[in-house]
């Protein structure tokens, strides 16, 4: 059977599965809609967290980035896993003990202020939309390449599926769908990796294959790859080219961002007990590590296979995958020395880097670009986002494996999109309407508003998919920077400092968010020409600036809290109670907090 037919079958079957689960587990109350009633088994929650959080960026982009950047790619590997240590040790159990539905809920009650809650709502919505935009390009890429439908139609189909199970099922539906999506995506990631690992290194475990010898007996795989890359004038695979300070700041921003991402935190509100929140973070990281330990192996295998396949390729004999990716504009070849062969070397082939195609074809049938050629001998542009999808074809794996990867990529993108959309809708219906503007609405009405806002959020996200942003992983990295700069300090200080008051929290969040946002917008959108290390502050790229924003947030919050009145006694008592071992006391506090801390009466 053809890869395309198999892809239709696999994608169709997994979509049917997700819809089936959504119907079986639809939500009837706000508690079920927001936090699945708080009755999710910690192992299931771990799998759901893993799927929720491993997005198109992890599944599609990350291995591609590592394949091209080598050692520098470690910032994603460490940053996106290290955050779970912060989450498990410093945040998740305490926030679970506080027993709230959302992150703004915690901020609003802990800081006894509607204003703080509103700022948090704005941060949540902003971060989540940035992140959703990153997922939609992933959905579009998969659909256009493998199902050969129009990208726009692909996005609409994806949105319709998410609409169905997020609006109907709420958190309960999403949780069980995500468990299924985790299984699909990890299977889809591991099968081709195992296949290729056996072909290249004879080691069936790709995580170990990375450190093994090559099957043809020419020494260790990484040494071979270092040799190949150096020979072609590229940076050696195991050497980085980013500055140390930038690596540090980006990694720290991704870690603190992971711990501060609202859609990740909210997952820990769904487990029955505090200790379940702790252990659940552990399970989540185990499930995530399964993919993250494999990703660098996939990256190294892909780099070797691409160099082998592409360098010296005569264009007229180019394999099908090369031509198909060229057709949708993610591969471009500019024959600088006019020999009809593809020279793959270090450096960018084109200026600007991303190809802009003219309508014409060259003498060998290749698509012509309007970009200027660079000085470098490199003739080929390969988009980093295609590596995971293209690799099974490059390695000539059977068609069913290729179809499986497409289904896995969709599972990763859709599961994250659903989690984010739920967070957005909750922020609107619960924090904005119920807790701020319309405190009188009933549970049923609130549920209706939650569904309406989810539907609205899906439409906006769909637009982001039709007009897609740049690289998936980079866009997503900004969401992390913003989360690190706004939420992480406020949550951490809210738990560990009784002295933190509402003035400090609001000032801190606004400083962190404004600073980080301005820096990113300046370098990424307003003055892209200046986006080079010479112009960056302290040599920190926009990707890593969230860490500096976070530091500013800490400093501002600390300073403001010393010159403004301390929080009321009941808040201070509550903060102390959150840190007492066990759960019994907090149940009482939770019951009273609704009455004593109603924001309308307080601020």
């Amino acid at each position: 059977m053809s890869a395309q037919l198999l892809t239709y079958i696999f994608v169709g079957a997994t979509f049917a599965l997700y819809i089936g689960i959504a119907i079986w587990s639809r939500s009837a109350s706000t508690s079920e809609f927001y936090v699945a009633g708080g009755h999710v088994n910690p192992v299931a929650n771990g799998a759901a967290t893993a799927a929720d959080w491993m997005s198109a960026a992890s599944f599609l982009s990350m291995a591609g980035i590592i394949a091209f950047e080598g050692a520098d790619g470690a910032r994603y590997l460490m940053g996106w896993t290290g955050g779970y240590v912060l989450l498990a040790l410093l945040l998740a159990p305490y926030l679970r003990k506080f027993s709230k539905f959302t992150v703004p809920d915690f901020v609003g009650d802990r800081y006894y202020s509607s204003a703080a809650r509103l700022v948090a709502v704005v941060c949540v919505i902003f971060i989540s939309f940035t992140y959703v935009a990153g997922q939609m390009r992933g959905v579009g890429v998969v659909f256009s390449r493998f199902l050969e439908v129009d990208i726009d139609l692909g996005v609409v189909i994806g949105m319709a599926i998410v609409f169905f199970y997020a609006v109907l099922g709420g958190m309960k539906g999403i949780t069980y769908t995500q468990v299924a999506q985790y299984c699909v995506l990890i299977f889809a990631y591991l099968v081709p990796a195992i296949y290729i690992s056996i072909l290249l290194t004879s080691n069936p475990l790709p995580m170990l294959g990375l450190g093994s010898t090559v099957a043809d007996g020419s020494g260790y795989l990484l040494d071979k790859l270092d040799g190949l890359t150096t020979e072609l004038g590229m940076t050696a695979f195991t050497d980085g080219s980013k500055s140390t300070i930038d690596m540090l700041f980006i990694t720290a921003a991704l870690m603190a961002g992971t711990a501060g991402l609202p859609h990740v935190i909210v997952r820990f509100f769904t487990v029955p007990r505090v200790r379940d929140a702790r252990i659940s973070a552990g399970y989540a990281l185990v499930f995530i590590a399964l993919l993250y330990l494999t990703a660098p192996a996939v990256a190294a295998f892909a780099r070797i296979n691409i160099i082998d396949e592409v360098n010296g390729l005569t264009y007229q004999d180019a394999p099908e995958w090369f031509l198909k990716w060229e057709d949708i504009g993610l591969i471009a070849w500019h024959d600088k020395n006019e020999d009809g062969k593809v020279q793959y070397r270090g450096g960018a082939a084109l200026s600007p880097t991303k190809p802009a195609f003219s309508e014409e074809r060259g003498e060998f049938g290749q698509r012509l670009v309007t970009n200027r050629p660079t000085e470098s001998d490199n003739e080929v542009y390969i988009d980093r986002d295609i590596i995971v999808l293209a690799h099974p074809e490059i390695a000539k794996l059977p068609n069913w494996v290729i179809a499986l990867v497409a289904a896995g990529g969709l599972a990763a993108a859709l599961s994250t999109a659903a989690g984010l959309l739920l967070v957005i809708s909750t922020a609107v219906s619960h924090d904005l309407l119920k807790k701020t503007f319309m405190p009188g609405i009933s549970d049923r009405q609130e549920l209706l508003y939650a569904r309406i806002s989810a539907a609205f959020a899906i439409c906006v996200a769909g637009l982001a998919g039709i007009y897609p942003p740049d690289y998936v992983a980079q866009v997503v990295a900004f969401a992390f920077g913003l989360a690190a700069a706004s939420f992480f300090p406020v949550l951490l200080l809210g738990i560990f400092s009784t002295r933190m008051n509402k003035e400090a929290a609001i000032a801190g969040m606004l400083t962190g968010l404004t600073f980080t946002f301005s820096y990113i917008v300046y370098f990424k959108f307003l003055n892209t020409a200046a986006n080079t290390p010479e112009y960056w502050w302290f040599g920190i790229s926009p990707e890593g600036i969230g860490t500096l924003g976070m530091m500013l947030n800490f400093v501002v919050a600390f300073a403001v809290s010393r010159v403004t009145p301390p929080p009321p006694q009941d808040i201070q008592d509550m903060v102390r109670a959150i840190r007492v071992p066990g759960e019994t006391q907090v149940r009482d506090i939770e019951a009273t907090s609704e009455d004593t801390l109603a924001p309308a009466s307080r601020s």
């Binding site: 050692a71 896993t81 779970y84 450190g211 093994s212 990694t251 973070a281 185990v286 759960e583």
Partner: protein
């Protein structure tokens, strides 16, 4: 908990980034050591850290006699955590 956080920072920012170039002179099978820490070693350490923490906190809860009563779901985790 502070100790665990020190290990967390040590394997990632320390071994994975600051000391990575220096560690690269040593080898772990087919890996350069710094490269291994930054790409795989740190992740393995993170997993261990979280489980050690969950186990320790579980013990503290038990000592304080505030074993949580709410047994809505009895699953795998109960054997692991307690």
């Amino acid at each position: 908990m502070l100790g665990l956080l020190v290990i967390w920072a040590g394997v990632s920012f320390g071994f994975g980034i600051l000391l990575a170039d220096w560690l690269d002179q040593f080898r772990l099978g087919g890996y350069k050591l710094g490269f291994w820490f930054s790409q795989q070693g740190s992740i393995l350490t993170f997993v261990v850290l979280i489980f050690v923490y969950a186990w320790r906190m579980g013990r503290i809860d038990a000592v304080h006699g505030s074993e949580e009563k709410e047994d809505v779901i009895v699953g795998l985790d109960d054997r692991d955590a307690s």
